[in-house]
């Protein structure tokens, strides 16, 4: 195979991504080599990566992991007792007492499955969860990819399709392309804080049926990047819809720990499903995804996630478990997950610190989200829906027609051009809305607001000055 023509056509078909990462890397390189720029370093707020932006990890998590890695620390008195005890317990669940062994089963360490199942049961007010339904991998994207792989088949009109929200998490479209699944969009209602609208869903399905074989509906709740938290009524409607239309529900719930909106509460799809009675709870096929890249943990670099599989044919469950065999899930992230779902309890030595750290993170997030939203709404040509959860803000951009023209001539989307310029001139990397999906000419930008407040202020200040300049440039 020596040319692109001979490559696997499906890989060739993966949509072009906008990624500004390489531009950001180049700028960083230039600065390291002494180039003078109006900024000292590149600040990347395009992904949900709080630690990149300077937020601290949770001490208890890191301490336990460090001890698991280097068990000599079990004797280290300066580390809290509960840290050492937890590490000991977790090491006991690893082959040969080492985190260097493969996980006992290809789906992960059984002890951790159990802890996750218990966490889910507690969270959902007693709706029971079974360890055999829980499967790990290195990040929720990977588990989703396994599921999509299973569903994918056909081409053209028979190609598998997934109803996908617009906007959706920015890594999703590429994943669908790569697994050969068609993205069938359903618009979220921007004017209503990005709420989901059932009529729109029905319409989208109808359109989809003409083009492919829809098999699933993907939901992100709390929404990524919208920050919207669905209410029970909507969730029940979605469940009924999925049941009637025979669709699998794929519920991405990574930001469940970060609800800060007033009067809002996270409900899991599983819980709502089970509270709708046997007619639904025993039939609707649901897969829920979660990961340690959540707001409070922010451990994106550790790469750990899981999915809970509900009401699937046991053969499918078996398949998912065995497909993991080609890449054993890493051990440390599973341990981090165990700590996430099973934190220190009141009375434990680490409890105070742990609770404070979580509270501080969520307070920062809530304050930042509010501050940034107000700030952005003050800028002409920007309109930001308030977020209720999650780590992103996703304001819409009204760009001057000349900029749109210029972008067209350069062969890029206007919001990409905007972000490129912003990065070059101010050293801040935002995400462009076209990665998340948007209607034609309805532009957006995406920024992660979970960062130290000073960092956020700087990002906002630079954004204002750049934005006004753009508008000034094109009156």
């Amino acid at each position: 195979m020596s040319s692109v023509q001979e490559m696997n056509p499906r890989v060739r078909g993966i949509r072009a991504t906008v990624s500004l990462q390489s531009l950001a890397a180049r700028l960083t390189e230039e600065i390291m080599q002494g180039a003078k720029k109006p900024f000292k370093k590149v600040t990347d707020v395009s992904s949900g990566d709080p630690q990149r932006a300077g937020m601290s990890p949770i001490s208890f998590v890191r301490q336990v992991l460090a001890v698991c890695l280097y068990p000599q620390l079990l004797k280290e008195k300066s580390l809290p007792l509960d840290v050492r005890q937890r590490a000991q317990k977790l090491l006991g669940s690893c082959g040969g007492g080492s985190v260097g062994s493969y996980s006992k089963t290809s789906c992960g360490i059984p002890h951790v499955h159990k802890s996750v199942a218990e966490f889910i049961t507690r969270r959902d007010g007693g709706v029971s969860s079974h360890p055999e339904n829980i499967i790990f991998s290195s990040g929720s994207q990977k588990t989703l990819s396994l599921v999509l792989h299973l569903m994918a088949s056909g081409e053209g009109e028979t190609q598998t399709g997934v109803l996908t929200p617009v906007p959706c998490p920015h890594t999703l479209p590429m994943l669908l392309d790569e697994t050969g699944v068609a993205l069938m969009p359903y618009q979220l209602m921007e004017g209503r804080g990005w709420a989901l609208d059932l009529d729109e869903l029905h319409q989208a399905l109808k359109t989809a049926r003409g083009r492919c074989e829809p098999r699933a509906i993907y939901i992100s709740n709390p929404g990524n990047p919208t920050g919207h938290v669905q209410d029970r009524k909507t969730m029940e409607e979605v469940i009924r819809f999925a049941a009637t239309e025979g669709l699998v529900l794929l519920a991405e719930e990574v930001y469940q720990d970060s609800v800060f909106g007033q009067g809002r509460e996270f409900l899991s799809y599983k819980k709502v499903l089970f509270e709708m009675g046997k007619k639904y709870s025993e039939t609707v096929e649901l897969i829920s995804f979660n990961s340690i890249s959540s707001a409070s943990m922010g451990e994106c670099g550790l790469r750990g996630g899981y999915m809970e599989v509900i009401n699937m044919d046991p053969a499918v469950n078996n398949y998912l478990r065995s497909m993991q065999g080609t890449s054993s899930p890493p051990v440390l992230p599973q341990l981090a997950l165990e700590v996430m779902v099973n934190p220190p309890s009141p009375g434990d030595p680490s409890y105070e610190t742990y609770t404070q750290e979580i509270r501080r993170t969520l307070t920062t997030l809530s304050q930042n989200a509010q501050r940034a939203c107000e700030f952005l709404n003050d800028l002409p040509g920007m309109n930001c829906q308030p977020a209720m959860a999650g780590v992103f803000l996703y304001p819409s951009l009204h760009l001057p027609p000349q900029m749109i023209e210029e972008a067209k001539m350069l062969g890029v989307e206007a919001d990409v051009l905007y972000c490129q310029r912003f990065l070059e001139e101010e050293g801040v990397c935002l995400g462009s809305g076209c990665e998340n999906g948007q209607e034609d000419q309805n532009y957006h930008i995406r920024l992660c607001v979970l960062a130290p407040p000073a960092t956020l202020e700087e990002v906002l200040a630079r954004l204002r000055s750049f934005h006004l300049l753009q508008l000034g440039r094109f009156p």
């Binding site: 195979m1 890989v11 630690q51 301490q63 460090a66 890695l69 260097g100 670099g301 044919d313």
Partner: protein
Amino acid sequence: MKQLEYVVLARRASQIMEELRKGARKPYSEVIDVSWGDPHRAGVKPLSFVRQVLAACLYPELVNSNKLPVDVRQRAQRLLGQCAGGSIGSYTATAGIAEIVHRVSEFITRRDGGAPSHPENIFISAGSQWALQNILKVLVNSKSSPKTGVLTPVPCHCTTTLSIMGLGAVVIPYYLSEEQGWELQVEELDRALESAKGVCNPVALYVINPGNPSGGKISPEQRTPKYIFVSKNMYHMVVFHAMLPVGHIQRRKSIQEVIRFVSEKKLFLLADEVYQGCVYGEKSEFISYKRVLAEMGPPLSDTVELASFHSASKGFMGECGMRGGYVELINLDPDVMKYIYKLFSKDSCAPVLGQIALDLMINPPQPGDPSYPLYNVETQNIRTMLVHNVKRAFEVVNSLPGFCCQPVEGGAFAFPRLHLPPKAIQKAKEVGLQPDTFYCIRLLEEAGVLISPGCEYGQKEGTHHIRFCIMTSEVMMEELLRRLTCFHTQFMKDFS
């Protein structure tokens, strides 16, 4: 649904372990599991330096304390400085932390006697299999007719065959020659390629060096998918998964022949070199495919498309749980490289700790560093242990009637041939098991030793093998061999 050999054994092993836990009386008090390439599970200790640095990266407070040696703290500090936000919790660049990627390329250059290696050609991934899958994704067109084919050794670890088939391609088996110590013979490659004519479209050759022994024909049932599911909304195929066999190290001449072969037949070369750290045959030396290719000069060195894989899971580090590996790509079209980048970027990045483990593997402490003495002692111990284990396994197994073991020069497993008495084969048939699986089940039940049967990897029709990991503590190896001897003697008597 046909049962997987491995699943049958693993399940029974779990049951037995549970029974032991509940106090059941058996002729053994614990099960020895040497069915995986997982040294830590088998009692080998991790390297202190590696764990100290990783711990300090995880919990940087340790960097400032004097509980850890200076070079550990310096290394951790340096690595953390490479991470966004100074934390291993952040995403990294898709191909891996830039400085680590650079150091990987330097390692490769050093290893290959100066043959240059470029960072842009290197991708760090969560384990070498993950990188292999991404490359296969580019090569395999699941919709083509005829199907894409990949030449694959027999025996072979099924993770690869599973990946190939899972992507919709076919495996074209080539048999390694057991009698010649599992050598790869080019005539056999020719034969295999011929056999593919009209059946599939071969695009690549997969080799693994140091090897996993292969050899023998694979019967059709062993190569077809084991499960087909249909459910309301999903249907797909699943293939079994298993592991690598034993250690042959290719000689330079053989590598050259393979390179000429792929060049002539226009095949993409996939070189799985994860066991390059485990070489202990006295006259054997690992030479990488890249090095041989570079030394063969143009036009071959500029045209043969090669992907070389390595990982932190094997070798003396044995950090399988960390998931750190990389692939180096040679002579690929730059446009194709862009797509490969896209595939890797789908998962954001490799786990950061795995990347760090990789860095520690290729840049260990040097003489003069504070950690060097301990590091040296620990690695020497592991090496001595391995050499000892290999020798003992070879001696003991070959002394048992019915066993024939080829010398192990590298890798982590022994893959002896087992000549089973006709009565045993008959009995196996009666209970519906492959003969070597039958042997393994009996060994598990009666002696508490879990190994894998050769049928899991493919073997010549009518031959049988067993496979077990030799990267264990010496004590465990002795115990393993003792139990095996005892069991085997009895087994052969029972079925004579």
